[in-house]
Subunit: 96 residues, 4 copies
């Protein structure tokens, strides 16, 4: 019988997918430098990789806020979800 | 009889102090532009003001995490203080 | 007879306009704190002010690159305008 | 006879070294996620990788400003080195 995939496992797959895309971006920067691509291209590739890194961090921070600030097993309903959303909105504007 | 100053009131005075210093920095930028100061000076003043703004945001975010993510009256001890500290460490690296 | 407004004077008016709007935003933060507005509102106002500060910095940096990196009187045509544009594109992604 | 290593070749080696260290950092994040390390560790590793990426970008931007904004062959001495340094100081505060 197939078991439903747990939240954590789904989340982990998504994060690993992001990290592997970032690794591909780093390798593209390495190739561009090796092939003596112009500064413009290299700067553009680095900016793209930085954006993807910010996206990864935003997702890990979100996970952390939603699952670790309060132990939902011991304190069900204690996390103020609206206040957490407002926090994450602010954090995301800084993570861009 | 003098009452001890509450946490909130102390916090508010500190935040207002920060905001007023930022206002002074904005006025210094305004004067520098009016007096046709060099770009270098203007860029330097803006960078200083931006740093002070980041410091203000860091303090408000910290307050928000410590006091609003969990209603401590209803759910005493529910906030994982160590997890909150780790979150704030990360947020501060982005708020610089 | 009316003289045409010089580039510098036009530029200065535009920058002063931006700085004055930022001062208005700082005063709104001051009022929000004085009136004990919620953290959410204060964080939102600070994020807006930070964005406006980034916009001001981007404009001053652009001016600096276009007018001071090369003395166009002594070295007409020496600035590589395309390379300068590429640089400013990158700088803007970081100034957000 | 050994030829002295050109500026460009030295620079390229230095940049490639930085990119390879960043690749190592990305692989450490991948391992941490695969091994179900805590959020704190993952956030810490991402913050380190982001700092290294900012350092790489700062170096490429510096190269770009010093070597491409003015064609030194055609316009020797046209780049205002002091103005370029001031610009790079500002850019570095944003690239942290």
């Amino acid at each position: 019988m197939l078991m439903p995939m747990s939240h954590t496992v789904r989340e982990k797959k998504k994060l690993l997918g992001r990290v592997r895309r970032i690794k591909g971006q780093v390798e593209a920067i390495e190739r561009a430098l090796s092939n003596e691509a112009g500064c413009e291209e290299v700067m553009h590739l680095i900016a793209g990789m930085r954006g993807a890194t910010a996206g990864l961090m935003a997702e890990v921070v979100e996970d952390h806020v939603r699952t670790h600030l309060v132990d939902a097993g011991k304190h069900p309903g204690a996390l103020n979800v609206d206040a957490a959303d407002k926090l994450l909105d602010v954090v995301r504007t800084y993570l861009k």
